[in-house]
């Protein structure tokens, strides 16, 4: 088995690693890069616990080879907060107690972020469809959906503030 050398970007940091050709991106993140936020639930792309973004596109990292990361931009749950400042999604997940055991939570947050990036005013139905690839066996989903809608409101407020500030500068 010839190892593969990969140069990539993870959460904005230039990163290099060596992995086996059949090794998944999930295993690389967890076992080689120490980024254990993404979880292995099913390993077959059904549960979404391993959700990350590759070049901005939401994917299951268990169905991506580490070797495929060459030259791409990977985004993981570890890149969601801005230093000590939590992302509105994280804050609202806490406020709404939208987690119990927590295994699915990183995947939900990454998937919800991908949703809010393309649609900051999702309806409840849109949230439920967008998160259909993330399974939670504890919460019953309602609290998660409410947390995402609350975070969407926060994100919209943030966007309005940024827009206003930009307007003033002009």
């Amino acid at each position: 088995m010839a190892s593969v050398h990969v140069a990539t970007t993870v959460n904005g940091d230039v990163t290099e690693f060596v992995c086996q050709p059949g090794e998944t991106l999930l295993d690389v993140l967890r076992n080689r890069l120490g980024l254990t936020g993404a979880k292995e639930g099913c390993g077959t792309g059904d549960c979404g616990a391993c959700s990350v973004t590759v070049d901005g596109q939401l994917v299951c990292s268990c169905l991506v080879l580490g070797a495929e990361a060459e030259g791409r931009k990977i985004g993981t749950i570890e890149g969601l907060a801005d230093g000590d400042t939590l992302h509105p999604l994280q804050t609202q997940f806490i406020n709404h107690a939208a987690l119990q055991c927590g295994i699915c939570t990183p995947g939900f947050l990454v998937a919800a972020k991908a949703l809010l990036d393309r649609n900051s005013s999702p309806t409840e139905e849109e949230v439920r469809f967008a998160l259909a690839g993330n399974l939670c066996r504890c919460t019953g989903y309602d609290k998660i959906v409410r947390a995402v809608n609350a975070a969407a409101k926060d994100v919209r407020k943030q966007q309005a503030r940024v827009k206003k500030a930009a307007g003033k500068r002009r």
Binding site: P21, C60, A132, G133
Partner: protein, 286 residues
Amino acid sequence: MRYEAPTTTREAVSLMAKAKGKAFVLAGGTDLLVRMKSGVIEPDLIVDIKRIEATQSIKQTAGGFRIGAAVSGAAMAKSAALCKAWPGVVEAANLIGSDQIQGRCTIAGNLCNASPAADSVPAMVAAGAKAVVVGPKGRRTVAVEKIATAPGKTSLAKGEIVEAITLPKRPAKTGDAYLRFIPRSEMDIAVVSAGVCLTLNAKGEISKARVVLGAVAATVVLVPQAAKAIIGSRLDDDALAELAAACGKACKPINDMRGTIEFRTDVAGVLARRAAKIAYQRAGGK
């Protein structure tokens, strides 16, 4: 195992053709990696085709559309022109899995995985899609329905890969649609499915039609008798009943945990009727 990510189709073909042992093409990986992990396959070589320019984009050509073999379902949904021309094909592709899967899965992969329940395939066949196949002996364009020969088996020779899927330019007064039955609202494999594409004449009668069923035989089935049943009609009740009956006759399904032979045979007709109605409306029929 070796991993290769060539940047030209020629290189990819050469790698596949010269491979000793088991070689597999990697596009979205949503089937391949699952099969690798479950131990169903143990590849000696994986050829990732996503770095090949010809596989990466959707191009509008004089003849219609050319969808690269590495274009994801999510990328198809973002192409306004494709969604407008072939809504049935895009909807079928977007039914596959979750948003996470949509970020990776491809219609070329869906085709080459050769599952009789593949969602995008009946819609592609109905629309008259073709596969651009490149191999050691050159390039050929073949109707999508000629690719799968049995569950998991294709007509591709050693070294041959699908570089792109082409869709014709949508003829005037033409509409397509795809429907599937699953016991849940999403994230499931079709128990039965139906794709319909039809064209109307100046009088609003159906002049051309293609009716295709999925998950009711070893491969997706094109049902010319069902098309015949609605050609010349305005999709009145008699024509729809004849369409459903022809679909039932074309079914050779199996009993499994997802559905019985009787259920699949019956629902094939129901879905074909409903898909035909949507296609008719999209074609401008009233």
